[in-house]
C-alpha cells in the first residue's frame, strides 16, 4: 500500500448558480467567508495524507487556475507530484464533444498517460463542488477491509430526483444504481470513489473501448454486476452547491455553531488560500451580530445574520441582514440590504435598498454597482 492519489473533477455543468458561475466553474465559487468550494475537497485529500492531486480542468477554468496557483496553500507545491493541472480537453482532436463535459470516464481517458504515471496504489476520485469534511483515510481503510473493487461514498440524506441513488444489500454492497427516479430512495451518491490505480486504468480503457463517457453509466450501472462496489456511508455534513437556493441555505447554516464545528473540526483543518488582509475592524457605531466574518472587513454599519468575505466594507448607517457579501463588497452609507448575495467587488450605492427573499435571494454579479 503506497498511499492514495487524488483526482478532482472541475468542469462546467448546467448551472443553477446564476451570476455566481458567469465567470467560473462550480468548484471555484466562494463559500463560507474565506474559501472556494474546491478548498474542502483539496483539504480532505491533504488531511488524508494525499501528496499528489490531479485536477481535471474544463470550461471556465481561469478562476480555478488563479485560485489553485502553485498549490502552496495546500502544501501541494512539490518538485515531484504535488498539484497537477490536467486540461483534459485541450487537444483539439479530442473535442468531439464540442467542448461539453460528457463524463468522468471520457475526461480520464484524455489524461490516460497521467494516470499511468501515478505513483500511488490507490486513487480517490471526487468532484470539486462538494462542501464536506470527511476522513478519507477511513474510507480507504474500510475499502481495503471490505475487499471491494470500488468504494463509493454515499449518504442517507436524500436529495432531489436528479441525484444518483444506490440500493445496498445487507453487507453494504451496492446492488443497483439509479437516477432520475420520481421519489428518491436509498443512499444518495456523493461522487467520491476509491479504487486501485490498476482498476482505474482498466476501467478507463474499457469505457473508451465501449464508447462509455460517464462513470455512473459506464461503470456503476454497466459493470455493477461484475465489480464488487461497496458503499461507505457518511451521515455528516455534505453540501453540494448547485443552485442559488442551496448556496444560500448552506451558507446560512454555517451560523449554527454545531454545523460550523463539524465542517471546521480542528483535527481536519480546511486550508484556504492565504491572504494578506489585516484584522477586521468593527467601529464603535458598528453593530455586528450572528455573523461570520473574514479578515480585512471594515464594519461601521449594522450587520446581522450574514456572511462577510474578506475586505467587505459596511459604511456608517448601512444595514445588512441575511446577506452573503463576497470579497471586496462595499455597502455605502445608509444603504439597506436584505437577503442579497453579492459576488466579488460589488458596490451598493448610498441610500440604496436591495431586498431579496430568503427563498429567492437576489444575486448581484461581480463588479456591479447597484
Amino acid at each position: 500500500m503506497k498511499g492514495m492519489h487524488g483526482i478532482i473533477f472541475s468542469y462546467e455543468k448546467p448551472t443553477g448558480l446564476r451570476e455566481l458561475t458567469d465567470h467560473r466553474v462550480h468548484g471555484s465559487v466562494p463559500f463560507a467567508g474565506d474559501y472556494r468550494v474546491v478548498d474542502f475537497m483539496l483539504s480532505n485529500m491533504v488531511n488524508a495524507g494525499v501528496t499528489d492531486v490531479g485536477v481535471i480542468m474544463h470550461g471556465k477554468c481561469q478562476s480555478m487556475l488563479d485560485h489553485l496557483g502553485t498549490g502552496k496553500s495546500w502544501d501541494l507545491s512539490r518538485k515531484n507530484g504535488g498539484l497537477t493541472l490536467l486540461p483534459a480537453f485541450a487537444y483539439a482532436e479530442r473535442r468531439q464533444s464540442a467542448g461539453q463535459f460528457r463524463g468522468k470516464m471520457e475526461a480520464l481517458g484524455c489524461v490516460k498517460e497521467y494516470l499511468e504515471h501515478i505513483r500511488q496504489d490507490h486513487v480517490v476520485l471526487a468532484d470539486s463542488d462538494i462542501v464536506i469534511n470527511i476522513p478519507l483515510q477511513d474510507v480507504l481503510r474500510d475499502h481495503l477491509a471490505s475487499g471491494a473493487d470500488l468504494t463509493a461514498v454515499c449518504t442517507a440524506q436524500l436529495g432531489d430526483s436528479a441525484d444518483t441513488y444506490f440500493k445496498l444489500d445487507e453487507t453494504g454492497r451496492i446492488v443497483d444504481t439509479v437516477r432520475d427516479i420520481h421519489t428518491p430512495e436509498g443512499y444518495r451518491c456523493l461522487n467520491i470513489f476509491i479504487l486501485t490505480k490498476e482498476l482505474l486504468l482498466r476501467l478507463v480503457e474499457d469505457c473508451m473501448a465501449h464508447n462509455q463517457y460517464s462513470l455512473r453509466g459506464g461503470v456503476l450501472q454497466r459493470l455493477g454486476d461484475q465489480l464488487h462496489i461497496h458503499a461507505w456511508i457518511w451521515n455528516g455534513y455534505a453540501a453540494r452547491i448547485d443552485t442559488i437556493q442551496a448556496y444560500y441555505e448552506r451558507s446560512m447554516e454555517l451560523l449554527n455553531p454545531e454545523i460550523r464545528g463539524e465542517l471546521f473540526c480542528p483535527e481536519r483543518p480546511i486550508f484556504g488560500k492565504e491572504n494578506d488582509a489585516p484584522s477586521s475592524y468593527v467601529d464603535p457605531s458598528g453593530e455586528c451580530v450572528n455573523t461570520l466574518m473574514a479578515d480585512g472587513c471594515d464594519i461601521q454599519g449594522a450587520v446581522k445574520n450574514s456572511i462577510l468575505f474578506r475586505g467587505v466594507q459596511v459604511e456608517p448607517g448601512a444595514s445588512v441582514e441575511g446577506c452573503i457579501l463576497c470579497k471586496g463588497t462595499v455597502v455605502k452609507k445608509n444603504a439597506i440590504v436584505r437577503n442579497v448575495i453579492t459576488d466579488k467587488y460589488v458596490t451598493i450605492r448610498e441610500n440604496g435598498t436591495l431586498m431579496g427573499h430568503e427563498t429567492y435571494p437576489l444575486v448581484i454579479a461581480r463588479g456591479a454597482e447597484v
Partner: protein, 404 residues
Amino acid sequence: MKKECVAMLLAGGQGSRLYVLTGDMAKPAVPFGGKFRIIDFPLSNCTNSGIDTVGVLTQYRPLELNSYIGNGQPWELDRMDGGVHILPPYQSATGATWFKGTANAIYQNIGFVDLYDPDYVAVLSGDHIYKMDYSDMLRRHKEAGAACTISVMEVPWSEASRFGIMNVDGEDNITEFAEKPKEPKSNLASMGIYIFTWQKLRQYLIEDEADPDSANDFGKNIIPKMLDAGERMVAYRFEGYWKDVGTLDSLWDANMDMLLPGSGLNLLDKSWPIYGRTPVCPPTFVGPKADVGNSAVAKGCTINGEVKNSVLSTETSVGKGAAVTYSVVMPGAVIEDGAQVSYAIIGEKCRIGRGAVVGGPPEAAADPEQWGITVLGPHTVVKPGEKVAPKTMLDKHHNEEVEA
C-alpha cells in the same frame, strides 16, 4: 548576485523589557495588531520598498523566528537570489563570538553582505511599528551623496530630551548627535533606521571592531565616529506613524493607536500592505449576543460577549457575558463566560476562567500612580472567579507574580 541595497534587521534582543510576554522567544516574534507579529512591519517595508535581500540578526532562540520566517514566502522574500536569511552568531576558527553590540552584529556578518556586493546597506530595527518606504530614504541618501542617512522624526520639544537628537543645518545635514540631551537644540529624534554606503560602513565597522574601548554600537560609537571624521551625514525626515514597541506599555499603546482613527497607523490601508504568516482557521464568528465596538478582530475567533476598544488575535474566544475592554488578546487565548478583562495584555493561549477579573481601569484605581496595565504571559491560567489586579504581571510558567 549584485544588489543595490541589502537590509540588515537587528532582531537580536531577547525582549528583556517584554520578558513576561516573550519568555525565550525573540522580541520581534511577539504578536501585534491581531494578525501580525512585530517583525512583519520591517520585513513588509523591505518588500514594499523593493529590497529583496534581508539578513535578520539574532542570537536568542532563533527557533521561533526561524520557523516563523521560514523561507520568507509570506513577505515574497523566497527568492532564488537574495531573500531573507536568519543570521545567528557562528563559531569561527578562533572561537565562539556572540554579538557584542549592534555594530558588532553587522561586523560579524560582513561576509554575508559582501556576498551581494551592495552599494548601500539599510540597518533596521526589529521592534518598531511603522510603514516606511526605504526606497524614498535611499533616494535621499543617493542624492545627497551621503555616507550615512539617518531617519528622523519631529517630536514635541518637551519630549526631545528623551531621544537621540540630531542637530542639522539648513539642508538637513547632520552636524551633531546628542543622546538624550538635557537642553536639546533640535526636536529631530533618530528613529534608529540607517542607510549607509556599504564601503564606508564596512571600513568603520572594521575600525570600530579593532577599538577595545568601543561598545560596538551604532548610536554610541559608529555614528559619532563618522561625524567626527567629517563624513557627509544627512537626516531623512519621516512623517507618519512610528513607535518603538520595546516596552509593554508601548506595545499596548501601539495596539490602541491602531484602533484610533487618525493615529496614522491604519492597517486597512491597502497601499502599503503588511504581510504575515497566519494560521489556518475559519472566519471569525460574532455571536447573536455579541457586542463589538472599536475593535480589531483577526480570523478564527468566537465572540459571544462584549469586546470594546480591544485587539483580538487569531483563534481567541470571548464567552457569554464576558467583557474585554482596552485590552490586547494574543492568539489562542480563551476568555470564559462572565470574565472581565480590561487594560490588559493577555498572552498566547492564556485561559481566563469564568467570572475572573483581570486588570482594571485607571479611574477605579485607589492610587493612580500605582495603576498600570496587567500582563499575563503565554499559557497563563486564571482560575474562575480569581482577581488579577491592575499592573500585575503573571509569569508564564509558574503563574507567580513578577514585579514590573
